[in-house]
């Protein structure tokens, strides 16, 4: 027993330390609650608070329904049906993830607004009074955000469907259920926790979004935080508003947990044999291919083609050299991916091995950075870094008379810490979902045979978790490639990334000039999508030999 207890407490301590470190900037934001509430709150309550609440709720509901449905339906289509192009679409449908949401936003606004090419052509054809729907609306925003965010539920649902194992599906089919009934009565209930994680991640991203919602002039809580912070110069009230946003995120996570209920979902791991699934023929196969082509066309090919068209517009100037930008982006994103996935894995493990309510809550808090606007997280991180730095430098100065300056502020280390705070949720949630589907009996069995916990992790869990870890790494990598506010605030001087190059142009409404850097973000993300897809699906995992 002692051999089991010791490593468990090591997990414990390191998990507490990590959770504490990552929560510190969030706590720094939350501390604003202790400060007196100014008249800004009364002002907001009298004026725009209800509009903000309604808008935020509407946005979340819209994105949940549209991205959740789209992601789940596509995942079921590519996993459980055989049709031309299936293997291609299986990974290609994740590609929109490589496009920053604000880029997708400005592409669709520019294409569909009154002065844009689509409406101009339609007016030329149908007369000056012709009007299309207004793209700068709640509907337009939900549409665009769902196109960028559906890959989250898609990714989670796809791996859940794929690892159902042949047994439940064969049983269902053997009992005479049609493929559709198999979906509703067997596959969907079993995949529900994974889909809920995907939707929760998409919603946290939507909740934190500032760039895209401002493009659509749609006012959510995030917009209000900026308005109070930089319009009314009231940083305390802005911090207090951010706490409200945290409560929204906690509610989302609680909702996600209820999807798992009290049941422990332990699934037989293994890829379901492809021949269980029906091979679609004739018009049905055509329809399936057309469906995937349409989604991929609208969410990926169309924006890319538009960016390409803008980039080659005569007279558009481009950055002198992309190499340093690409290098900076890719190195930062890779290191952050390794960091966030390792940290997420640690937290997920601690959660699996502990009964401590406190620790479980701490892991939950640690992931909240993902639901806060990048700037709020970044300012929290900066406050912690600079505060520590200043105290340290003052101390050293007093002792040695030598000023060491700021060690972490404005360095790569500080920036990576900011990414960890912001994106640890992406390392944690997919990993934890994957871990929770490994039956505990495996651990207990191995332990009873005298296997050390370290070996259990190395030889059993890690291979079984391969797909989840690859997915988590991919999500972090792509999100860091797209990340703007924390990079802008904390990066060392001269360390510009691709996202910063895009911003420098869009901040001046120079969308055509922003096209090439934006395309480069997508291009630099592609190898990661392909590589990690391959890593997540290619080789047979040890778990499969059992099934």
């Amino acid at each position: 027993m002692t051999s089991l207890a010791r490593p468990a407490s090591a997990w414990h301590i390191s998990a507490w330390l990590l959770a504490g470190l990552v929560s510190a900037p969030i706590a720094a934001v939350a501390l604003n609650l202790l400060l007196p509430r100014g008249d800004v709150w009364r002002h907001l309550a009298d004026t725009i608070l209800w509009e903000l609440t309604w808008n935020t709720a509407w946005l979340l509901a819209g994105v949940a329904v549209v991205s959740g449905t789209l992601g789940t339906a596509l995942a079921w289509l590519v996993v459980a049906h055989r049709f031309p192009g299936r293997r291609f679409f299986e990974w290609a449908l994740m590609l929109p993830l490589a496009i920053p949401a604000y880029v997708m936003g400005f592409v669709f606004v520019a294409l569909l607004e009154y002065a844009g090419p689509v409406q101009t052509t339609l007016r030329a054809a149908f007369g000056e009074t012709f009007r299309l729907f207004d793209v700068r609306s709640g509907w337009g925003l939900v549409g665009v955000l769902s196109l960028v965010l559906y890959p989250y539920p898609y990714l989670m649902a796809r791996s859940a469907f794929a690892s159902l194992g042949s047994a439940p599906v064969e049983a269902a089919r053997g009992l005479g259920l049609s493929p559709r009934q198999t979906f509703w009565r067997v596959a969907l209930p079993l995949a529900r926790p994974a889909i809920a994680v995907g939707v929760a991640l998409a919603l946290m991203e939507a909740l934190a979004d500032f760039g895209t919602v401002s493009l659509f002039d749609y006012r959510t809580y995030t917009v209000a935080i900026y308005r109070v912070w930089f319009g009314m110069f009231d940083r305390v009230a802005a911090g207090q508003l951010a706490v409200v946003l945290l409560l929204w995120a906690l509610a989302l996570l609680a909702l996600e947990r209820t999807q798992r209920g009290r049941r422990r979902y332990a699934q037989a791991h293994g890829r379901t044999a492809a021949d269980v699934w029906p091979r679609l023929a004739g018009t049905r196969a055509l329809a399936a291919t057309a469906c995937c082509t349409t989604v991929l066309g609208v969410a990926f090919v169309l924006p890319l083609a538009t960016l390409g068209w803008w980039a080659v517009t005569p007279g558009v100037t481009h950055p002198a050299s992309f190499r340093p930008l690409i290098m900076n982006s890719v190195v930062l994103a890779s290191v952050a991916a390794v960091l966030c996935v390792s940290a997420g894995l640690l937290l997920a493990y601690a959660r699996r091995r502990t009964h401590s309510k406190g620790l479980r809550f701490a892991t939950e808090i640690a992931g909240l950075g993902y639901a806060l606007p990048g700037s709020v997280v970044a300012v929290g991180v900066l406050a912690i870094l600079a505060g520590t730095d200043r105290a340290l430098a003052d101390l050293v100065l007093r002792i040695s008379g030598y000023d060491i300056g700021l060690l972490a502020t404005g360095t790569g280390l500080g920036l990576l810490f900011a990414y960890l705070v912001r994106f640890i949720a992406l390392g944690f949630h997919p990993t934890e979902a994957g871990l929770s589907s490994i039956p505990r009996s495996i651990d207990e069995c191995a332990a009873s045979l005298g296997t050390t916990p370290g070996r259990v992790v190395r030889e059993l869990h890690l291979p079984l978790l391969r797909a989840s870890l690859a997915a988590a790494g991919l999500l972090v990598f792509l999100d860091v490639m797209k990340e703007l506010p924390a990079t802008m605030l904390i990066r060392p001087m001269g360390w510009d990334t691709l996202a910063i190059a895009v911003w420098q142009m869009t901040s001046e409404s120079l969308w055509r000039e922003a096209a090439l850097p934006a395309l480069t973000i997508v291009a630099a993300g592609l190898p990661a999508v392909i590589c990690l897809t391959w890593l997540g699906t290619s080789r047979r995992t040890p778990g499969e030999t059992a099934s």
Binding site: T120, D217, W229, G412, P492, G494, E508, S509
Partner: protein, 339 residues
């Protein structure tokens, strides 16, 4: 697992090594100058190269949004590497001064070159280039004599014909702030309620508003002048023109992009020298000309496109009012239902 940990540590170490900029900041030589700038992509402006050529002082830029640059400067405190803060919008300069991030500069050159209403009363910041935020109209569908003041855009004849940025836009906050200083809150609130009653179309960029006017989505709007100049440079026959409102009253609202010396500048002399240089006639025409702004130095002629628009009466109230009344402006907009 162990190999993985070693690899992680190695990677992080490598990145830190690559990225550690702190030693550079510490061993600051007199021959470099660090500028924190939110003048977006203007970091590469030729006027700074001219300064380096003239003085031999290298300029390093840290570029970012107003808000991010401000927070970075504030948090770094006394150990910041910033010598100069260069930013757009008087409200931002005012806020930086209020937080004690800028230090006063007594310079005969600057007081001679920059008119009093374009700089901080306590000389902590100086406007270097001026933009007017004015009414833009479709020359195809609107006659200039239909227009008169900002407030007159609330006339019912503009119902459904008006395009505006939202009140989250810092330039609109500054416009309202300076109007509040001149006319008081009740008059401005009445004006804004008039705009809102006309059911304006909200559009998220000045350039996009001008394109919307040209395409026929709306007939009038309010934008900064340099955006129109940029479009006219590319499309000289664009059917949009500026109108100068309030010529019988307080005049057109102007805003600045400007600079101040960081309160903890390591190279204070160099910082002052740079701002002084930027105010001189030789630098002004390059600085303002390249971005289609009006030079802050009245001795310098604006770009030909701007000159073509003629001269006009501008607000006499100091641009600092934009910051002073910005919070009031945002609250007023909320009350009036101005999104």
């Amino acid at each position: 697992m162990r190999r993985c940990v070693v690899a992680c540590v190695g990677l992080i170490g490598a990145v830190m090594f690559l990225m550690d900029s702190a030693p550079a900041a510490r061993s600051q030589e007199a021959k470099t100058l660090t500028v924190y700038s939110s003048r977006a992509h203007y970091g590469a402006e030729p006027v700074f190269e001219a300064f380096t050529k003239k003085t031999g002082v290298d300029i390093k830029f840290f570029n970012g949004n107003n808000n991010e640059v401000f927070e970075r400067l504030r948090n770094e405190g006394a150990r910041t590497s910033a010598d100069v803060l260069l930013t757009v919008d008087a409200g931002n300069l005012w806020n930086a001064a209020r937080e004690g991030l800028l230090s006063p500069v007594q310079s005969k050159i600057l007081t001679a070159n920059i008119p009093a209403h374009l700089r901080d009363p306590e000389n902590r910041w100086f406007g270097l280039a001026v933009r007017a935020r004015t009414i833009m109209y479709s020359t195809a569908r609107v006659k200039p004599d239909e227009l008169s003041t900002y407030a007159a855009l609330g006339d019912p004849k503009w119902k459904g014909r008006l395009c505006l940025r939202t009140s989250s836009n810092t330039y609109n906050q500054s416009l309202l702030g300076s109007l509040i200083k001149q006319e008081g809150e009740p008059a401005v609130e009445k004006m804004v309620r008039g705009w809102v009653a006309n059911n304006p179309t909200y559009i998220n960029g000045d350039t996009q508003i001008l394109e919307a006017i040209a395409a026929g989505q709306c007939d009038v709007g309010i934008t900064n002048t340099y955006y129109l100049a940029r479009l006219l440079q590319k499309t000289p026959d664009l059917k949009v023109a500026p109108f100068w409102p309030d010529q019988q009253g307080h005049g057109v609202h102007v805003n600045v992009s400007g600079a101040g010396v960081s309160a903890h500048a390591k190279n204070r002399e160099g910082a002052i020298a740079l701002i002084e240089f930027l105010s001189t006639p030789e630098a002004q025409s390059t600085l303002a000309g390249a971005s289609f702004e009006y030079p802050a130095n009245p001795a310098v002629e604006p770009h030909a496109i701007l000159k073509n628009w003629g001269t006009f009466k501008t607000q006499a109230v100091g641009v600092a009012a934009a910051g002073e009344f910005q919070a009031a402006a945002v609250k007023l907009a909320d009350r009036a239902g101005y999104r």
